[in-house]
């Protein structure tokens, strides 16, 4: 029994020691949020978030493990201290800051738009009256739809991921969806989906930020901001965006 306890203690200490490296961080992210993070045809985990984080880490000289946990789990992991920060195309909102989250400077400004079937007659928000609209939980697209819901009298159905949301529009379960414009445009083009972005449906957009929950990790946010400014200055940032958003 004593031996077992000793072994557990030693293992616990090893684990603690591993976690305590000064310049090593665990960063959580979503599983699929194309083109910010996704697994490409070769099985590599890539995307704008992934590349920006890599460029900033190189610039600032820290190392990290990127864990693709999924949106909900990434949030929980930061709160629990299982991860130091998260980069998952998370919009910087007041409600999130009020809950104690700390965001970096915005690293990408996304506008949102409404998308319908290519042969749909829906041309404005008013045409949505009484019809179901698909959104993805937690996105700015969802927030945009929520802001239009009451004035235009449509209902909202929440899905967990983008593919299911598109499927709901293509299958006819919902008549429209709201998504970030660059993502929507890229997905329609790349996969040849029978969808179209409704003209004039774009909003002003909001910035995405890198987020931490534990205020002790403020230095990570500081490094992120400094690194972001540097890669914007040296052209690396534009290179990454060009690579994913042709």
């Amino acid at each position: 029994m004593k031996k077992i306890i000793a072994a557990v203690l030693v293992m616990t200490m090893c684990l603690c020691a591993c976690g305590a490296l000064a310049d090593h961080f665990v960063i959580a992210t979503d599983t699929v949020f194309k083109p910010f993070e996704y697994t490409d045809m070769n099985g590599n985990f890539v995307g704008i978030d992934v590349d920006i984080l890599a460029a900033i880490a190189e610039d600032q000289g820290f190392t990290y493990d990127l864990n693709s946990l999924g949106w909900d789990a990434a949030i929980a992991a930061c709160q629990a201290g299982q991860a130091d920060g998260m980069i998952a195309g998370a919009s910087i909102t007041d409600a999130r800051k009020e809950s104690g989250w700390i965001f970096s400077d915005g690293y990408y400004n996304a506008t949102q738009c409404m998308t319908v079937l290519a042969n749909s007659k829906i041309a404005s928000f008013a045409d949505l009256a009484g019809k179901p609209v698909a959104v993805k939980t937690g996105t700015q697209g969802a927030a945009y739809a929520e802001s239009l819901k009451d004035a235009n009298g449509f209902t909202i159905t929440y899905f967990e991921d983008s593919p299911t949301m598109y499927q709901a529009v293509m299958g006819g379960q919902c008549v429209a969806c709201f998504e970030d414009t660059p993502i929507m445009a890229a997905t329609i083009k790349e996969n040849g989906l029978p969808l179209k972005v409704v003209e004039g449906s774009e909003n002003e957009g909001s910035p995405y930020g890198f987020a931490i929950f534990n205020a002790d990790k403020q230095n990570l946010v500081d490094m992120f901001n400094a690194g972001l400014a540097n890669i914007k200055a040296n052209g690396k940032y534009d290179e990454i965006l060009a690579k994913y958003l042709n």
């Binding site: 909900d72 929980a76 999130r96 809950s99 698909a134 379960q173």
Partner: protein, 223 residues
């Protein structure tokens, strides 16, 4: 925690209502399916037995999340695009109800089959030998005894089905888990939200269990 209850309390309560609605719809049809398939598997008819076995194996062999995607997206696609019917559409509630009814129905069928088979064969033989027809014997002699042994398993299955409604969050039905994910996404307060949700499920299921226990007691002590 209080902030979430303050802002999202009503939303979460509405979602609990949706969860209960879905569970009730699902259980209602599950009972019908379970009874029919359960009886089909005990009657002396090879075709009925075969259909019952295939149904139970098919439904039990597919995870409910797959069934949910298949019914919500697959069935309309099959009917409209492949069979060219056009205009067939299932709401999330309809698809969810079908999904729960099929899934829970398959397990109920097994519970009912096991319950009937647990009654000694002699009971049926004795009833038949005094001149009762098969169905009358089943109804008056076998089923009343079988139901008593089935009740705890059926209640257990009800509770499992109530919790299984959470799986239908994937097809966008606004039940408790789907709504809670939204609250988490808006506030980024993961633990507080899930703690509230856990307590809500616990409260409802505890009430259901208590109610079921008293029902069980009443049935055990005659009618």
């Amino acid at each position: 925690m209080l902030r979430i209850l303050d802002i999202y309390g009503n939303l979460l309560l509405t979602a609990m209502g949706q969860t209960l609605l879905l569970a009730l719809c699902g259980l209602f049809f599950a009972c019908i399916i379970g009874l029919i398939v359960g009886l089909m598997s005990v009657v002396k008819n090879k075709l009925c037995n075969f259909i019952a076995v295939v149904f139970v194996d098919l439904i039990r062999g597919v995870p409910m999340i797959v069934l949910a995607y298949f019914i919500y997206f697959g069935v309309p696609y099959l009917l409209n695009t492949i069979m060219g019917l056009g205009g067939v559409m299932l709401t999330a509630l309809q698809a969810g109800t079908i999904c729960l009814a099929l899934n829970c129905g398959a397990y109920m069928a097994e519970i009912i089959r096991a319950g009937i088979e647990s009654v000694d064969r002699g009971q049926m033989e004795a009833a038949r030998s005094v001149g009762l027809p098969y169905w009358r014997a089943m109804q008056r002699v076998v089923l009343p005894q079988a139901i008593r042994t089935m009740i705890p398993s059926i209640i257990n299955q009800f509770i499992i089905t109530l919790k299984d409604t959470s799986i239908l969050s994937v097809i966008g039905f606004p039940e408790l888990v789907n709504t809670a994910k939204n609250v988490v996404a808006n506030t980024f307060m993961s633990f507080q939200t899930w703690a509230i949700v856990a307590v809500m499920y616990l409260a409802v299921i505890t009430l259901l269990s208590r109610f079921a226990k008293s029902m069980e007691r009443r049935l055990k002590h005659g009618h």
